[in-house]
Symmetry: D2
Subunit: 413 residues, 4 copies
């Protein structure tokens, strides 16, 4: 009398307790090697240098977002909205695969190894490929994912300023980093979900939860995602990849795993990914954190002083010193830092760009232009949360905060 | 070799794990009947009508605030600030006794039974009385408590916008109500405490935690402390007490426990409390939630229709209906409600004031005028958090939010 | 399009997050004054003297057990078992009302004020009364509750060694006392539930969870429910009630709330409860913790030295000293303690029984004779958990542990 | 006035909140590349295949064990035991480095790549090497670690059946796997620590916590560490390494990172590690999870059918099917499985040993022969916990449980 095991797979999750897989196709997608690969890609790239608990993977995040999506669908159905079994399955597929295109250390990789090829582009490509393999079972999911389905609110569960992706990553990242202040009331937010005019909205009594969510998100950005040490490590990784590629192009010999080598020594163009069975895509899908780290570890012993210093920094956690400012950094200050570094390492002006790293980063807690959060009042009216809050000035939260950084080697190492 | 048990008492606390009592005098104060009485006074009065987990007591809150104070003192000492053992003990006594003057359902009681006699006034009176009994051992504690001691920052641990009282009650109330979004990063805030110019301040990197604290506090106010149903229950209790006193003065017979009767049938003046051994004080200290509830329960069967309806409301949770508005309520609307109630209950105009309750409530998340929160920057400068935040407009949070309510009996009961 | 609010009531629960009420009749039962009364009866009577967080109520426990029952029913349905909507509602009613007959400090009360009248007897009486009031809507629930329904496994959810009552009280009591070691994996146990031969059983892979549950339960018994200080307080309460009744019968004047007075001054017989509208039942249903405590507090000032000492002990937490032994206590030792107490208090031999309290308590973690826990193996066979465990000797856990205690006043107070 | 940042480093820990580093030498050891390397070695090797949250590292575990050791030392000092500042620092160093010798997937590695070279042996070697580098600052720590110091109880904090290593790994592994039932009351156990006759013991009132600890540990073994799927994955990794080495010895070309290649292609003898600056040790210390996984991933495309199947199994989570029994498996059954596999893969008899894996595993919850747990009664007597428990038959828990497994490829992949 028991349902076949295949259909009722349960995952243990420290965050939510248990995650139940309800659809067979979901189960099969999880088993697919493209998805299994996400087990080897950390969700938070470099954040573990500051938060040693933050080793959770994109695999786990995708499962978590799936779980929240199921809860949200249950809630909306219980409130009387008509969502068919097919639509439910499709939304679940959509959220499960929303990040399938991510590679290892994506932010660094996208900028260096295959410029112009974003993980969003790859996600859609991979979904298409999977759809072929699954004989069209993902068609509706892809339609919803791309916002082409007539029930727009379904897509908002996957992508908006209060989507299940964000909900899960905030909850999960705050859990694994131990930054408890970043935690949000995901269960209450889900209980407050409603649909009005084909929009996903929040009931008025949930407004404080939304405020709290925005402030928690802002905190997570500055305390975790854009923490100055994390920022520095990420910039160093970017520079490692740029330098390695530069050396490779110049004909230097660099140890690398085969797939990583493919991207180091080839000038991959977007077109080369075009077919779902392209070599470029296959190599991309074979790469994960292990490829990068196994190679970077080796480069600690490379001849190139610049590459060596950067890699040693990442492997032995001898990171650069970081300075963070609210205003643009004076050229004079940067010049002084460059001079010092040049003395220390005896490198060319060009090479100095790998030692003294400069840039800016920005974030806004709320974006008034895209995927807004609307509040539903008892009289049926809707208001943007930025205008609905009686006190917290959310309009302020929508002004981007920009910070300027400079990173450079400490003198002692 | 073991320290006598008396000196190392440990309390289990679901919130913090274990609370260790370090000072013998603290232990003796906890054992005193004045303090034991706080075991029978709920911290959140009426909130359990909405949050059925919220039965924690003032006793437990006082222990919790003591625990956080000990952690804060440890932190400040570890940072090199000189705080003597005597001062530490005194601050601990101060926080332990900061609410010792609270009676049952204080907010209702203070306004009705002994008008003009605040719990703050009573706290100081009781501390004096205890000091006599403890032969002066509380002298320094009282000095600090009253802000008369030369190290001002010590008092700020007991009373300011970021004192250990607030930290504990937010953590504890959010824990027991289950409103997890009200939780704050108390441990991180404590790690960020510093002293500068004899002020208690927060290190700059703790600014997001302070923002989060203010938003969480705001959420707790509107979602718990001033939740419209809680508000309604509190107003009904106020009216119960006013009506009972009115009837008592008029000579009616009302069941009440002896101490409660004392306050019902006597017109107690502030002067009567003056001596620490006054009859008024003794009766006050014998009263707790049981006295009020045991009496109110009986009044469900009283002849007076108004008292009966109010008491039945509290005992059987047949609360009035509440309407909450952001603007003052129109006289017309109130008049209509009064008319309906008059028809339903056949009461006089004066009695209608017990059936249709009207008023306003307000809260500001941050107060720019008193006990400010100052942020300490690396260059040694201090800034009010309202000005230090780079984005969250805390100045806005300091504007009081006012809400207007009207409560009235449902027709069905 | 939204379901009427009445049908989707949500309670905040610090333990489970949210508890959703799914059936209208459940909602109406919760609103009934018989059930609301459970808000004023502490689940753990005296345990808060040791664990100051333990003020949770029977009201909250009943909601929690309801929640777990709903989860268990969901799980069994998902596994393909056929449970009709009517049956589900009935099981939910059964678990909601399983403890409706409890009075304040039940264990003390049952033995003293109305001997021979158990809370189980009263529960059934009250259910009958409610069934009349609810026009037969509880009939199926009562049938299941009494084990008269043909699907026996439904009753096991309400009453067996692994019922939802136990699951909730262990989780909840460990949560509120802060004895985290008493926590159990309720969610995993529920996921492992199965039905076989009309029995509620546990899948084989859940066996470690059951072992853990039994050990946690054992720990909760000795560390919380039968903690020696809790035991002492309970015995003191028993003696308070016995003494008060003795004095009342002898014609002494005792302050008491009217309902409590009814039981103090009347010799209530079981027959008097017989009708659902009996005076005895009505008085019983008006009583709660407030009646007892408001009265006990007054008796601190009574003339009777014995009553005074006992009540002062409970009110000011000047509890007796307790000694706990694994073997029966020697008469000699007890005699010495009685002599000392007689000198201290100058009381008669009869009165000494109120000052030196003696007795035994026992518990077994598992009971092999009643409501057994059966394990379901993959080949379809069932085994009692006591025999199924490959190592933990659960048969041992079924031997009752007996402990002997004696309590007596400390000399200092 | 603030202590230099270097001395008061704080780590965020999702498990304990904050971990404070108190000693400068500890800080410097954490910064050392030998220790930083533990960031890239998962604590639970293969368990994430079953528990997708279990990616925590040996780095984090070492910090956690350090934290608990500091708490335990505080507790013992507070109880009046004399432990000098030097001794405290030394114990902290000892616990921090207790696992420093672990390599990636240690259990597999030790048996295959460098047989006879245990991580314990390597830990001591590395500690010696660090001691030289730190100019003797680790001498006392090593003495304590090796049990040569006259205060024996200090070593028991690092290594016994209730040491801080076990406490942390049970807490941490249960946290990250989400197997909440494996959680233990570490804080209560630490509060119950005492020293008697130079032994580390537990106060009698902590006995239930010890029972709970043993049962939780047993549960963690069978549910996590020896979970049949985890077991299977580990055996597959063992076979991968054995096959790879076999192929390497036979002259096949295998992609591998340089350090890993060193161990694949060299027959490393124990003597070669002897000097702290040996090439063998240096190569060992350069290896981590990335080396193994980056290589294994590549072998999915190797010519050898056996290696290919095994590696594909690990990389794409196409694990073998596992059968687990309480008795030895019949030869007949294994023969049948081998025949089937031979048909499917067309391999030699020798190669079949890589496809049908057979063996046994065992665990006892308590070991009566080594590092016993003694309970201290109020009269000063000590008893082994196995005899002190009044009911739970811990002697039973000390009988090892043996389970027999056979793993083999599913037909479908």
């Amino acid at each position: 009398m028991q349902t076949p095991i295949n259909k009722r797979k349960i995952f243990n999750d420290p965050v939510y307790g248990f995650i139940t897989i309800r659809h067979e196709v979901i189960y099969d997608l999880i088993e697919h090697r493209y998805f299994q690969r996400l087990r080897r890609i950390k969700q938070l790239g470099m954040s573990h240098y500051v938060y040693p608990g933050a080793y959770h993977t994109r695999f786990h995040h995708a499962l978590g977002a799936l779980h929240l999506t199921q809860l949200a669908l249950d809630e909306l159905c219980a409130k009387g909205h008509d969502i068919t079994a097919e639509e439910q399955e499709a939304v679940c597929i959509g959220i499960l695969l929303h990040d399938i295109g991510h590679g290892p250390f994506s932010h660094a990789l996208e900028r260096c190894l295959a410029p112009g090829i974003s993980h969003e582009f790859l996600s859609e490509l991979i979904m298409d490929s999977l759809n072929t393999e699954f004989k069209g079972k993902l068609t509706l999911a892809i339609e919803i994912f791309q916002g082409k389905y007539h029930k727009q609110f379904l897509q908002k569960l996957i992508s908006s300023q209060l989507d299940m992706d964000r909900l899960d990553y905030l909850v999960r990242d705050s859990f694994y980093t131990g930054v408890q202040e970043g935690s949000i009331g995901f269960d209450r937010i889900i209980k407050m979900l409603e649909v009005k005019n084909d929009e996903l909205v929040i009931e008025a009594k949930g407004i404080y939860s939304v405020e709290k969510f925005l402030v928690a998100r802002r905190l997570m950005y500055w305390q975790v995602y854009l923490h100055k040490t994390v920022l520095c490590a990420e910039q160093m990784m970017v520079k490692v990849l740029l330098r390695a590629k530069e050396l490779a192009v110049a004909g230097a010999d660099l140890f690398a795993t085969p797939s990583f080598r493919y991207f180091l020594y080839t000038d991959v163009q977007r077109e080369e990914f075009d077919s779902p069975y392209s070599d470029a895509l296959e190599q991309y899908l074979r790469m994960d954190d292990n490829d990068i780290m196994a190679s970077v570890k080796q480069w600690v012993y490379h001849d190139d002083v610049v590459l060596r210093r950067l890699c040693k920094g990442l492997v032995e956690r001898k990171l650069y010193r970081v300075e963070l400012f609210n205003e643009p950094i004076s050229d004079l200050h940067v010049m002084e830092l460059r001079e010092k570094a040049q003395k220390q390492f005896a490198v060319s002006d060009h090479e100095l760009d790998y030692l003294v790293l400069q840039g800016s980063t920005s974030n806004s807690a709320y974006n008034m232009d895209k995927g807004n959060i609307n509040i539903l009042f008892k009289d049926g009216t809707l208001k943007d949360v930025a205008k609905a809050s009686d006190q917290l000035n959310i309009q302020y939260l929508s002004t981007p905060v920009v910070k300027y950084y400079v990173c450079y080697p400490k003198e002692s190492n």
